[in-house]
């Protein structure tokens, strides 16, 4: 009888890395070696490593034009209007470090290049629904938040993840409004953070993430309103205390902790039943959990007494 004895190095065919990703990485490594030879200044301009598209999260809509996504932005540190992209170019994205701290076994500080090289990058085309009733579809490049959390090993007592945006007064005019509770802070539960959709974004449209879109590192949970996505992150902290977010401190009635998309629950000043697509202007019905219910609805079982929709 022929007996197959499995060795630790025997891997199933399904574990094999796709060919395009392997050769893409080789090309990237060759490019990186060339840049190192050319000097640190050139290496700082390195582009986004290649990343395969994960087709598990099909958006069901056309991707929004890159120009729309990079010129119509909410980034309150630069202003309240949508044309902050020019002002945001003054924000230096290199060098950039991100601390992961708090209730973790192994707190760490990452350089952004370190994150780019060690995290499992992939592309995901996600819908984004703004609380202001507009929406877009963006091919983000990034990595699951769970991959980052696996490195720092959250303590069992950690219940929330808090994200803090950089405070750079020399380039962010909004910080002159000293009465606001800077830095911009957002958060989610540890269960939400561990959900497979929770994504740390480092790029879009195959390029490094632009400053106006929250470069070099932002967060995105596509089933929540966009303001929950902290941009230009410098600190990720695990804690047992539920954070009070920036907007929650200013207007809790309009911007709550959970902020899950729900077309049946209107904003105090407008309906959330429809959304206007950036670029086309088309008005389309908004979906519960922005259409991601199959991935996330279970997170909220037993939380009906919470204000889940604002």
């Amino acid at each position: 009888m022929h007996i197959l004895k499995s060795r630790p190095w025997n891997l199933p065919e399904s574990s094999a890395t796709p060919e395009a990703l392997v050769f893409g990485r080789r090309q990237a490594m060759a490019l990186g070696a060339g840049m190192l030879a050319a000097g640190p200044a050139l290496a700082q301009q390195a582009g986004l490593p290649p990343a395969m598209r994960n087709t598990r999260y099909a958006p069901g809509r056309a991707i929004t034009a890159e120009r729309e996504v990079t010129t119509y932005n909410n980034f309150y540190e630069f202003g309240s209007h949508k044309t902050i992209s020019a002002a945001a170019q003054r924000m230096p994205l290199r060098p950039w470090t991100v601390k992961v701290e708090g209730m973790v076994e192994a707190p760490r500080e990452y350089g952004i290049e370190d994150l780019l090289s060690r995290m499992p990058l992939e592309e995901r085309v996600y819908r984004l629904r703004c609380v202001e009733a507009w929406a877009m579809v963006v091919p983000w490049t990034g990595f699951p938040l769970s991959a980052l959390l696996a490195e720092v090993k959250p303590l069992s007592s950690a219940r929330y993840v808090v994200f803090q945006t950089a405070t750079l007064p020399s380039v962010m005019p909004g910080l002159r409004q000293s009465w606001y509770p800077w830095p911009y802070t957002e958060g989610c539960t540890i269960a939400e953070a561990g959900n497979e959709l929770s994504f740390m974004v480092v790029g879009a449209y195959g390029k490094l993430l632009s400053p106006q879109n929250g470069g070099p590192l932002r967060f995105h949970q596509p089933w929540k309103y966009g303001f929950k996505a902290g941009k230009s992150l410098v600190t990720i902290r695990l804690t047992d205390q539920r954070p009070v977010s920036f907007w929650e401190k200013i207007q809790a009635q309009e911007y709550g902790f959970w902020a899950n998309v729900n077309p049946a629950v209107p904003h105090p000043r407008w309906s959330q039943a429809q959304e206007r697509m950036l670029g086309t202007g088309e008005s389309v019905p908004t979906q519960l959990f922005n259409g991601y219910g199959e991935f996330v609805a279970d997170l909220y079982t037993g939380l009906q007494r919470e204000r889940l929709w604002a």
Binding site: G79, S80, H81, K82, T83, P173, R176, Q177, S178, W179, Y180, K249, I250, Q251, E254
Partner: protein, 85 residues
């Protein structure tokens, strides 16, 4: 004008005694945390972004007593000149 000017000067004095050099923005934020956000959104989205950054924000950053003091002083002066002329 002869009445409003002195009233604004009195308000400025009251704000100085009550809040010292606290910015006007901080005072308004304490009164209504959402007020300035709404004002900024209306100004920057429907009027002109620079109007907020270059005109209104400097006023909000200044101590709360300055705006009524300047306005009150000007109105009092105008009222006095008008009374003389």
């Amino acid at each position: 004008m002869r009445l409003i000017g002195p009233v604004l000067l009195a308000l400025a004095a009251g704000l100085y005694l009550g809040f010292g050099s606290d910015p006007l923005g901080a005072l308004l934020f304490r009164l209504d945390p959402g007020l300035l956000n709404l004002l900024q959104a209306v100004t920057q989205r429907y009027l002109l972004p620079m109007l907020w950054d270059d005109v209104l924000l400097p006023v909000l950053e200044a101590p709360a007593w300055i705006a009524p003091a300047v306005l009150g002083g000007v109105l009092t002066l105008l009222g006095w000149m008008r009374a003389r002329g």
